[in-house]
Structure formats: C-alpha cells, structure tokens
Amino acid sequence: MNNKIRVLVCNCHNSVKIPELDLGADVVVERHDNLCNVRPQISGEEKIVIAGCSPNLLEGIYLDVNAEFVNIIEHVAMIGHPAEKAKCMIIAAIEKIKETEPIKKKIFEVKHKKALVIGGGIAGIEVAFQLSKNGVGVTLVEKNPFLGGTVAKLDRLYPEGTPYSHTLMPLINNLESCKDLERRVNTTVTEVKGRPGDYHIVLSTSPRGVTECINCGKCVDVCPVEVDDDGKKRKAIYYVPTYPDCYAIDFETCTKCGECVKVCPGKIDLNEKNKESETNVGAIVVATGLNWYDINKVEEYGYGRLEGVMKTLEFERAVASGTLHPKKVAIIYCAGSRDSNHLPYCSKICCLLGLKEAKLVKDRFPEAEVYVIAMDMRSYGTFEYLYNKLRDKGVSFIKGKPSEVFKRNGSLVVRTEDLYTNELLEIDVDSVVLSSGFVADKGTFDKLNIKLNNDFPILFENAGLGSHELPRGIFTAGAATFPSGVAETLIDARKASHSALNLLREDRIETRLPQAKIDDDQCSLCRMCIGTCPYNAISIVDDKIKINEELCMGCGICSVTCPSYASQLEGWNHRGLYQQIRALVGQGDLLAIMCRWSAYNATERAAQDKLSYAENVKIVRVPCTGAVDPSHVMLALNKGARGVLIGGCYPDACHYARGNFRAKARESILRMNLESLGMDKNRVRLEWIGKDEAKKFVEIAKEMNK
C-alpha cells in the first residue's frame, strides 16, 4: 500500500465528469464528493495526488500531507476543456510526486525570551518599552553616551515647533518603570551569531570616563577643549539631559589634560578600557535611525568650503543656541537627493525639515528674509498646512535647483533659475542651509548580513513589504527602515515591537514551508547560493554549505542559481519538475509556469470570470519565478512546446524580495540565446501577472498561441 500512489479525484458535487482513469497498477484512484469538506483517512507517509479545485484552498486543509495538487475544476471543467487534459495533468502530477521529496514540518525552539534593541533613539526606546511591558527582557544598546538619538539633537519638532523634550522625555521616563530592561550606552554590537530564537551577541562598551557623577558641572568649566557638535558648541566633557544622568567624555577630542579629574568631586577615569560582554537573545530589533548624507560630496554647494553653508541640523542648533542671527537665509532643497550622482531617492522628510527651519527663523527673527529653493515641495499628508502657513508668513518659495553657491563681496550668492517666472536669479544671503537626504546606518546592517537596497533595507516603501523582506528574527523599527518623522517613527516602533512579540511569545515555532536542501556530493563550494539567498539562510559550516532551517523561506532561488544542481527545493525538485513537464507538454502546447502567489491565481480567476483560453495551455505551479530554471524552459521547447510563459508577481510585490528580478535577468539571457540559436525569441516570455489579472493572462496566452 505504501508504495502505491493514491489519486483522490473530487467530483465537486457531481459537477465534474472525469472518465475512468486507468493509470497503471501502482496507482489507486479514489473518487470523492467534496474533498474540501470531508477529509479521507490519510497517513503521513503516503504519496497523494489530489485532483480537485484550487491548491490555494486545498493546501490549507491537506497541510500535513505529502500531496501534489491538480486543479481540474478551474483549469479543465469550468472552462470546458476535455477530460483528456485532466487525465494528462493527473499523470504529470503522479510523475512529479514520484520524484519529489515531501515538504517536512520544521520545529525550532525560541530559547531566549529576550530581545536586543540596537539604537537608543525614540524608535529603540519605544520598542524597548513595548517589549518590556509585555514581559520580554530587553537589552537596549546605544553607541553614544546618551539616549535620545537624533531627536535629542533637535531643537524642536515640526509642524508646530514643539520642543523636542515634550516627546522624548516621557518616552525615556517610561523606561524607568520597566522590569528586566538593560540600558547600555557607549555600547556597540560587534558580533551576531545564531538563529531566530537563539542569537548570541557580543557587545563592546567603550569608556565613558566619568564613573561617579553628581552633576555639578565643574568639569565643563575647566575643560579647555571646545568641540563643534553639529552646530552647537560644547566641551569635550559634556552632558545631554536625557539618560543616564551622568557626564561623559568624548574621547575622540579629549586631550587627557586631566583638568576635570582635579575638580571632580565624583570620579573620573581617563584610562578606562573597552569592555566586552555577551548576551543571548531571541530576536533583534534594529532601530539605528538615519544618518545625514555626506553633503561634502555635493561640491557645487560649497559645504565645508564656504563659511555660512550648513546642514539643516547644524543651522537649527546654531540658531537655537543663539550663536547665529541670520538676516537672509536660503534653504536649498534636495541637496544631493533625487540625483543620479548622489542619492537617487527622495528621503521624504527633508522637505518638512526645511520648512521647519524656515519657521524657526521666521519665529525668532520675523524681519529675516527666507528663500526656500525647491524643485518640488513634498509636504505630504497634513503637513501641507505647514507649507501654507509659511507662505502666509512671507517666506519666498522659488522653484528650481540651484546650480551653485559662491562668495561675492563677502556674502553668499545662490544662483538658480526660478521656474515660476522663468528667470535666472542671483540671491545674496548670509546663510545657506542644505536640506540633504538620509542614508541608513550601514555598519549595523552589515553586521547582521542584511543587504540594502537604495541604502535602506526595503525595496519599495509602498508595497507594504518592509521588514517582511528581512530574515526571520530581525526587525527594523523607525527611520532605520526608511527616513520618517517622529510620529511615524513611533507608530513603526510599536508595529516592530509587536512583530518581535509574535516570535518571542511562542516556545516553539512550527513551519511547513518548503526548504532548500544541499547535496554535499554535488556541491563544488562555489558559494553562488550564499549571495543569492534573500534571507541569508545559507552559510558555510565545516567546509560544507549549510542551509539554516529557521531562516529559509522556500523560494527556491538558490536551486536555480546552483551551477551543479546541488541545491534542491523540497516539493519542487528539479527532477520532479522535469518529469511533470515531460508528461504534461505535448507537440504544440503552451506551457505556463506560474508563480503560486500571483499568476497562478490569475489562471484560476480566468475560469471564475468565464474567460476561456486554448486547450493547449498547460499550467505548472512554482513557488516563485526565481525558481524557474532555464532547463525547465528548454525541456518544454524540446518536447515541442510552441512557447513558454512565465508568470510572476509585479516587481514591487515579490514574496521573496527579489525572485522576480532574478527571473527577469534569466529570461532576457534565455531569449538572447534562443535568438542566437536561430529560434524565435518570443517563444519565451516573462510577464508580471497580478492575482486578479485573468484577462491579461488570457490575452498573453492568445498572443503566444498565434
């Protein structure tokens, strides 16, 4: 019995008429009325072919079964195709399952109910608070001597100009009541090892200098070293009113003259050493925030070369601390943003930062003239209100991108074309503020082995994938995901903390995702799979490629990348797929290899929408177009297929981050090769077909059948 393959055919309440199937001696055919409601007795080891309706529906019911699904309802019965096609599909499925390894259940233990939060800005603080409130132990790591991050450096927040402390201090105070929370300032993450549920972290704490402090401030009075900290003057020993309540020495600028040690009633140790410590956590939340783009690279605006040209943060701090009294200010937008030579993307919040600085000047010095020079004003959402308000205050808005900033007779001159009037302008000012874009903290992501797109860990912000693309167990919060304002950062932090909680609240995590497996005998250790995996699930252990079960999501991209076919995906082995294609494709057929997340749904939707396509369209379901090997396509052409259509998700909607891009690259090479072989390259096509784009699928099939 165990060697036999059971074929369960669903009659769907007698609406499907399949003739008697004679499939040989080792196949048992059973007929059922409704497989979706009544589940027959099935043992775990059996190989089952279920011929019924949509696998997307049945998959959930037969989750624990080694089954191959054939959709004879939508792909045959509902569109009036002959029963012979159903038979052919069932035979192909039998051939496939003979050679396919079953998808096994994986269990991994969540060993440590603790989280590591990297970054002590508002996002990190909020994540730590939310996790701690839900009973999870948290280690909050901040590289600077004080918590607060970027917000602690600001003077005020947009749109209304609320002082930063109104938002930051309550968040920091929240942490006081938290149990099992460790706040580590002056600390960086040096090493991350392990898997979701069981990470081993090495932390390095740099010296703070001040070990016992009563906050008298005498050290600041005697310190001879003056430092420019983003536009605000401070001494090498300093204090930021957040957390901890203790002065700190900036050892990068400190000359170790020892003046502070003499006056300190507490204790200052100038010769402290770095300390290393270790911890184990179950999840990691990256809340490293944003870094200003290196504006020195935009040479034409003269940052660092011309006095009076500064970044938004420097300007804000200089005006707020009273060292700068600007009379005429030009705020240049998109300095280095939306620029193919610098940052190709829009950082979203810099427009509002620029408006905030304009408001700051107008509030403090109503007589000052402010010119905002912007290509476009992107005051998104309700922030339009701020833009309107500033125009009413008399801020001059000029549309254009300045060509250069230069000095003339001691004052700064901005040269720009004003697109509102089509006139070239030269504006004399005393301060130029560059509203530049942002980049993520690359160092942390490198340590976590996360590849960045456009300098940020997300591919497209609006596809809603975000941290979905990251390896399981690692989450991003706030501006580390993409630049965001204070309110958005806090909302994102709450979401990230709840995602982490989903993992940490379980003792064991069970998944039934297909998984890639490496055949060590065939593997030549070329390491191509390591770079191609979107989830960093592949590593080398003891000179062998190892796939991390907890991280593999089952896209199958590595199985196609592997030049020696050593990597195989459970449930979709190459050999199984070859057998299926061999049995399925006949002379003149059109093979449609469809991604199970999008295009496959479209083929089913076609039947529901009563659209029909030719009988010769044969459909194969794959986990991702990234898992389609050129050899599958060539086999189909070899068997006499008139064409092969690969249907995948739209570029920003791939469930495995970049699978569809890899498929596109392979398809274009394949088409080139076909052409050089003297074949029509249009016989192979890759198309983006959405879940409900049945019409598109039908039209493409029709086109390819011509």
Binding site: D418, L419, N422, E426
Partner: protein, 163 residues
Amino acid sequence: MIDLRKSDPQFKWEIVKKEGGEGLLKCFGCSDCAASCPVRYFDERYNPRKIIRFTLLGMKDVVLKSPFLWFCAHCHACTERCPQGIRVAELINAIKNYAVEQGYCPEGYKMQIDLLMKMGRLYEVEDFDLKKRQRLGLPPIDKTIPEVAKILESTNILKVLKK
C-alpha cells in the same frame, strides 16, 4: 538675469495691505490662473502667474512697468479656479492700484479720466448724434454731465494721478 539685491522685499507686503491683495502670499505657483486666462489664449505675453510670482520676489520695476499688467479683462476665470482661493482678478486690481499710486499709469487711462472730467462721458456727444436721436424720436441729451466731474473730485483719483 535678475539680481535679487535690486528687489524690494517690502513690495509684497505693500500689495498684501491693499484691498484685494490679501491672498497674494497664498500662491504656490500652480499656474492654474494662467491656464484659465482667455487673454493669455490670444496673447501669450500676458501671464497672471508671472505677475504674481514677480510680485512675491519683490521685482517692483518689472511688475509696475509691465504693460501686460493692464491686459486683464476681469473675467474672473482665475478667481474661480485658484486652488488656494486667491481672488486673482482682484489681486491684479490691487497691483494696478498700487502702480497708479506709484505713478505708473498708462496714458490711455489718464486720457479717459480727462474725458470724464471734461464731459462726464468717455465719448463726445456731437450734433450728428443728437440729429440721429431726433430722427429716431428720442429726446436730446446733454453734451456734458458736470456731476461726474464732481463725483471724481470727491474721490481720491485726482490726488493719486497727481493732477
């Protein structure tokens, strides 16, 4: 090229103070006014957007000396469509009034005032017109209306035109 050192930063505030000029600062340069303008349809040199943007930049000379300021036909299409609710035609009026105060009045307008002062009408009524009226059975009319001059004298217009 325009050197903004020659601009007058107070110019926009002067216009905002004038009746009808209140909306000036709301402009964000969408150019809906120019797109709606029927005058611009016939003469591309007239562009309400440019007048407003030059005013905002403080380019007093450019705005006040421009003959195109006086092209507005007061159809109010721009006022209807402005997304910021600026009453554009009235704003142009405010700028015109300011121009006249500053001594930038086109000769044609001055001559019209002269005619009104002299006759109380914008055109002369001659014997030929009276004969025509008689033929049509209409009563004769006065060749001049001195009351109009009195009304004009009681307004500010003569002082503004410095007569």
